[in-house]
């Protein structure tokens, strides 16, 4: 802490002319960098894991469980899932892992999500690194121009995310079979898939675009009682959007890991009934 007299500031940002001549760029004494560090660690861990699994192209089907990374299957080179969502929209010219065709949609949904935007703008782009901590950039235009203006397309990813959640729900149903394909059975994996899809739905429905679409765009709630109720319901989920974003991300990864462990023979799925 310097206490020598400083002349008028001549810089930019908090050192712009006219502002108080405080020499320090910021004076926070708490651990403001901790949430950012946690965000970077969490996201990099997921990106690392999912990249490996997406390119691996194997061990994603442990009958009757299919990994959420590989469903639906849009390529011709998938392991056939009994009764599964296999639509060969792409011909057999697609030689890469079939997960890559599918993962771009949830990736786009999460990349344009209002919560993840906040998280990575702060943690990866330092814009700002934390509140009242100056950002290192000399110019700032926010989301006013290309490419960040494309964040406004988030709702289209939401529209796509809903059928994806439906397919994953269907996969959960398929998971209530035994290895021979008979219904009414369940193993630990059935409930892993079920828990995962519940979190996926909660995350998807708590989306800010969803909140807007179901009712937020109205001026008069009194004229639309049903949409008002829907808006209130989504609003209650929306308060926890950050929590749901992280827990659904973790659960997708862990569900895939479970399928991988069972499929690769490292772990035997306990049969419950």
């Amino acid at each position: 802490m310097v206490s020598t007299e400083t002349g008028p500031p001549t810089g930019t940002g908090v050192h712009s002319p006219g502002r108080a001549a405080v020499p320090q760029r910021q004076l926070r004494t708490d651990r403001w960098w901790l949430p950012q560090l946690a965000t970077v660690t969490g996201l990099l861990a997921f990106i690392g894991y999912s990249t490996w699994r997406a390119f691996e192209g194997a061990h994603y089907y442990a009958p009757p469980y299919v990994s959420p990374f590989y469903s639906p299957c849009l390529a011709a080179n998938c392991v056939p899932v009994r009764g599964g969502a296999d639509w060969t929209l792409f011909g057999d010219w697609w030689r890469l892992s079939p997960a890559l065709l599918v993962l771009i949609f949830p990736l786009g949904f999460r990349l344009t999500c209002y919560y993840y935007r906040k998280a990575y703008y702060r943690a990866f782009w330092s814009s700002p690194p934390a509140c009242a901590v100056p950002e290192p950039h000399t110019r700032y235009t926010g989301e006013t121009r290309f490419p960040l203006i494309l964040q406004n397309l988030h709702r289209y990813f939401f529209y796509v995310a809903v059928p994806f959640a439906m397919i994953l729900t269907y996969d959960v149903a398929l998971g209530f079979r035994n290895t021979g394909g008979e219904w009414g059975h369940a193993g630990l994996g059935s409930f892993v898939l079920l828990g995962n899809v519940a979190l996926i739905w909660a995350y998807t429905l708590s989306c800010h675009s969803c909140r807007h679409i179901v009712g937020g765009r109205l001026k008069h709630f009194s004229g639309h009682p049903v949409r008002h109720r829907l808006w209130q319901f989504v609003g209650r989920l929306n308060v926890r959007h950050m929590l749901l974003a992280w827990s659904s991300l973790a659960s997708v990864g862990l569900t895939d890991l479970y399928v991988y462990l069972v499929s690769s023979g490292a772990f035997g799925d306990p049969q419950l009934f």
Binding site: M1, A20, A21, V22, S222
Partner: protein, 256 residues
């Protein structure tokens, strides 16, 4: 329980300044503003500070304590460590007048740029009728005490002086949202689309929803979640949603 605290207060004006250190006695239950007053009474009679209600309701006493924008009267000493100095500066996004007092007229200029409520035709004073569920959202925004802590913290203007001309700041974008959600506001009839002006005139696109305004708001208004993001979605309806855009062009969408 009383103890001696070290206070480092920025003293100066627009020509420069420095931190002055003081030792001052802290009593149980006090807030930072109490200590600033004790300094004025005992050691620094010329220390400039703006305050009024000492109840977190007038919005005058905004400053930065240990680098965080806060109300002096709502920051309890018991939340600060007794072993570390308490560092107080004026708001760092606005021009300083003297010591802890800044010139917040940027905010008044921005307030004036936003067209006010447009009364609906054919309704006289006293004839306005609104349902509670239609005004609930704006009631949250009306809790604002105009402390301008959000305006001070928002990195769009705090870190980029040049953006002040194009960006209204969270408090006033919230005002646009409030009016756009107002059940009786007749902007559309008057040829004003508040969604278009939010983006084109008031700079909504500069906000990158990093939520610092929400973090510092002493009224706990969920500015980002309830005003800024919904406003961004409304702008997307107008500007980035081809189906809605087409529907409104050919008159398919009914008014709501």
């Amino acid at each position: 329980m009383t103890y001696q605290a070290e206070f480092r207060v920025w003293r100066g004006d627009s020509t420069g300044g420095s931190f002055e250190s003081y030792r001052v006695e802290v009593h149980e239950g006090e807030v930072v503003l109490d200590l600033v007053h004790r300094l004025q009474a005992t050691q620094a009679p010329d220390l400039a500070v703006r305050w009024n209600c000492k109840a977190g309701k007038c919005g005058s006493c905004s400053a930065e304590i240990n680098g965080r924008p806060r109300l002096l009267c709502m920051t309890r000493m018991s939340t600060l460590s007794p072993d570390e100095p308490v560092v107080i500066t004026p708001l760092r996004a606005f021009p300083v007048l003297r010591d802890l007092v800044t010139d917040v007229s940027f905010n008044y200029a921005k307030a004036r740029e936003i067209p006010g409520f447009i009364p609906p035709a054919g309704l006289g004073p006293g004839e306005y009728r609104m349902q509670q569920e239609d005004v609930e959202r704006s009631q949250e925004f009306r809790k604002c005490i105009e402390c301008f802590l959000c305006q001070d913290t928002c990195h769009v203007v705090r870190d980029h002086e040049e953006n002040k001309s194009v960006f209204a700041g969270p408090r006033f974008l919230m005002r646009v949202a409030e009016l756009d959600m107002h059940p009786l506001d007749a902007a559309a009839e008057a040829g004003l689309d508040r969604r278009a002006t939010a983006q084109d005139v008031h700079g909504l696109g500069y906000c990158n929803i990093t939520k610092c305004c929400t973090e510092v708001c002493p009224e706990q208004i969920r500015i980002t979640d309830n005003a800024l993001i919904p406003l961004k979605e409304r702008v997307a309806d107008l500007k980035y949603h081809p189906l809605v855009w087409l529907g409104s062009r050919i008159g398919l969408r009914r008014k709501d």
